[in-house]
């Protein structure tokens, strides 16, 4: 019993100090926009652009008098893309009184967080979680997203590959991640249904120093097209290596690849690569403006999912504004009915929570830029 005593005493001091460290509620009259996502660790480069987008939108809105006469406050929470941390971030946001949520970034983390938001009656909108059943399952009426889900993309890829590229057999590669493998599975399903032979279906290890073995293997199977499920860093490594090894096989990726960083990183090897992504927005004045704001504020081009995040922030705050309060049902109603101008175009949300008005197109890299294919 003596030992237990020691132990509990230390425990209690620790507990007290730790609790004393936190606290201090904000009672100020603000609208709180929660931004949970991966802000450190290996996936930080997908999470941080969303924070920047939110900062820019909020700065602009606050300068114009805020929403409903109140200033908007950001609550940025790191979830490292891990479900269990996402659960903590979510409860933190709920406890801190977040009114609307912009996030999470990864589908897994989003799944883990949504339960808490649903329970607390908070609307969440992700710029990047593309797992179809997040919206299609109907389990989360509080969930919206400004990005099309993977099934839409996979179908478009199949259509493009059969009608334009006339492929007979394909290889599917993915990065073994939540996002990439999900995409790849769907691609395999729809391509097989379309009667195209999938000669190779394999995952590569993200972050590996070299992909020459898998590239050699692709060459051996002689597919007409390589379909990639995953983000752009691995895609650019694989494409570059394929081209360096003098392979001319066509390559198509999803919205994880349709990112300017991909072209910058892969350079001349990016030429001719196909990617599906949201409809061309480069002429949308709002998108141009958002990009410029980012360049002025941070001195670099925006990163992954920036436009989707910018749009989501606009849509959320607009919904709060139109609803006239932070009431859950009112916000949802506005999101479903009202249209809002965003960098992605004029968008609203269908009954599942997927954004309408953001079409998908196939792009091809030509002279260092993604060019929409008709």
């Amino acid at each position: 019993m003596k030992k237990m005593g020691k132990l509990f005493a230390v425990l209690s001091t620790l507990l007290f100090t730790s609790v004393a460290l936190t606290g201090s509620c904000f009672a100020a009259e603000t609208i709180k926009l929660g931004v949970p996502g991966a802000h450190s660790g290996d996936l930080a480069s997908y999470g941080l652009p969303t924070v920047k987008a939110a900062e820019l939108v909020v700065k602009k809105i606050n300068a114009n008098g805020g929403v409903l006469g109140k200033q908007v406050e950001l609550l940025v929470e790191d979830d490292v893309c891990k479900p269990e941390v996402a659960g903590n971030s979510a409860t933190k946001l709920v406890s801190d009184g977040a009114d609307v949520i912009l996030g999470h970034i990864c589908s897994g983390a989003t799944k883990a967080g949504l339960g808490f938001y649903k329970d607390a009656k908070i609307v969440a909108m992700s710029p990047s979680a593309t797992t179809p059943d997040l919206t299609l399952s109907g389990e989360y009426p509080n969930f919206f997203r400004t990005i099309a889900h993977d099934a839409v993309q996979a179908k478009l890829q199949v259509k493009f590959a059969t009608e334009v590229l006339h492929v007979k057999k394909i290889a599917v590669l993915h990065d073994k991640g939540d996002y990439g493998k999900g995409q790849a599975e769907l691609a395999r399903k729809y391509f097989t249904e379309a009667g195209i032979e999938v000669v190779l279906f394999e995952g590569v290890t993200p972050g590996a120093v070299d992909y020459s073995a898998i590239v050699t293997k692709v060459r051996r199977f002689k597919p007409d097209l390589v379909v990639w499920g995953g983000y752009h860093p691995e895609a650019s490594k694989i494409v570059s290596l394929m081209r360096k090894k003098r392979m001319k096989t066509a390559f198509i990726g999803g919205d994880g690849v349709k990112d300017d960083t991909f072209i910058k990183v892969a350079g001349k090897y990016a030429e001719g690569v196909y990617a599906t992504g949201p409809m061309d927005i480069s002429k949308n004045p709002l998108a141009i403006q958002a990009k410029k704001e980012h360049q002025d504020a941070y001195g670099s081009d925006p990163g992954a999912f920036f436009d989707a995040a910018y749009s989501a922030a606009l849509a959320l705050l607009n919904a709060v504004d139109k609803a006239g309060s932070t009431d859950y049902d009112a916000i949802i109603k506005v999101l479903h009915t009202e249209y809002v101008d965003t960098p992605l175009g004029k968008i609203s949300f269908d009954e599942n929570g997927d954004a309408t008005g953001i079409g998908f197109s196939v792009y091809r890299v030509e002279n260092g830029a993604f060019v929409e294919q008709k």
Binding site: A208, V209, S212, A213, H232
Partner: protein, 302 residues
């Protein structure tokens, strides 16, 4: 299976192995001398690549010719990585020299986290394109589909670095001192070797190799970000242990074995499980040779 395919996988594995080797050499040297798993070694490699990128882009903007840029960038990377390695040892490991060994490991883990986030905060979280400092050689064009010019350069560099290190350790005075220190620190000190300086020197040399690796690999892959050191570091560590940690030829051999395993496994079976297979090979080898392929299994005296 056709021979051409086999050759390609073989060469692919060889390149991959040399990449691991450049990082594993640093691991194994540090381990050999102070029995520390230097978890932050991968971060030193990352810092080398970042310094190289920063210096090369600044110089390119200033209009320096390509060859000059390559040389300067490589030199800067080596100097800075060595400086980081040196400082890291002084701050995070030296005060712990007489502490329990696991404490030093935790300190190394902390250092790894620190360095990653330091680069993340001071630079960026994004992937940055890394200029291909190594050009495609004209004369190599007929073989480029088998093995590209940068891969060739990596192979040659690894070989040169390994030879230099072996010469350094086997035939120079400081190499002798290093060997003495790794055998018995107290005895080495009694014989007039400045142990602190030898340990610092080891860190400097290990970091310099990592920096060379960083520059070469980054320009081979074409992109870097702050997290690149972690996985490469783990793999290199595995390679070093596989070959017998503490032994320089062992680290290189272990790296090649690892590279080939992964390459052939991907080529003939599936890349889904390439790492699983790599680790299984590791377990099997260690079961039959508990001190690694070239490691000396010490007979314990009582």
């Amino acid at each position: 299976m056709d021979f051409d395919y086999f050759t390609q996988l073989f060469l692919g594995g060889l390149t991959r192995g040399s990449i691991y080797a450049l990082i594993a050499l640093g691991y194994t040297m540090v381990y050999g001398i102070i029995q520390l798993i230097n978890f932050a070694h991968g971060e030193i490699y990352m810092i080398g690549a970042f310094t190289g990128l920063i210096v090369s882009s600044v110089l390119t903007m200033m209009g320096m010719p390509a060859l000059g840029v390559v040389v300067m960038a490589a030199m800067a990377a080596v100097i800075y990585s060595s400086a980081y390695g040196y400082t890291m040892e002084k701050i995070a490991y030296k005060p712990l020299r007489n502490a329990p060994r696991l404490s030093a490991l935790i300190s190394a883990i902390g250092m790894s986290l620190f360095l990653q986030n330091y680069v993340l905060l001071a630079q960026t979280s994004d992937f940055l394109p890394f200029p291909s400092l190594i050009p495609d050689f004209e004369f190599w064009e007929p073989y480029a589909h088998m093995i590209t010019s940068p891969e060739l350069v990596i192979l040659i560099t690894t070989f040169v670095v390994m030879v230099l290190l072996t010469v350094l350790i086997k035939f120079t005075k400081i190499g002798k001192a290093m060997r003495a220190t790794s055998q018995d620190q107290v005895m080495a000190a009694l014989l007039g070797i400045n142990v602190d300086r030898i340990i610092s020197f080891t860190f400097v040399v290990g970091s310099a190799t990592a920096a060379i690796g960083g520059i070469l690999i980054a320009s081979h892959i074409g992109q870097i970000n702050f997290y690149m050191g972690f996985i490469a570091g783990i793999k290199a560590f595995v390679a070093a242990v596989l070959g017998g940690i503490g032994s320089i030829p062992g680290a290189v051999l272990g790296s090649f074995v690892l590279g080939w395993t992964e390459s052939f496994f991907t080529g003939y079976i599936s890349s889904d499980y390439e790492d699983v297979f790599a680790f299984i090979i590791l377990v099997v080898i260690l079961i039959f040779r508990p001190a690694g392929i070239l490691g000396k299994s010490e007979t314990q005296k009582v």
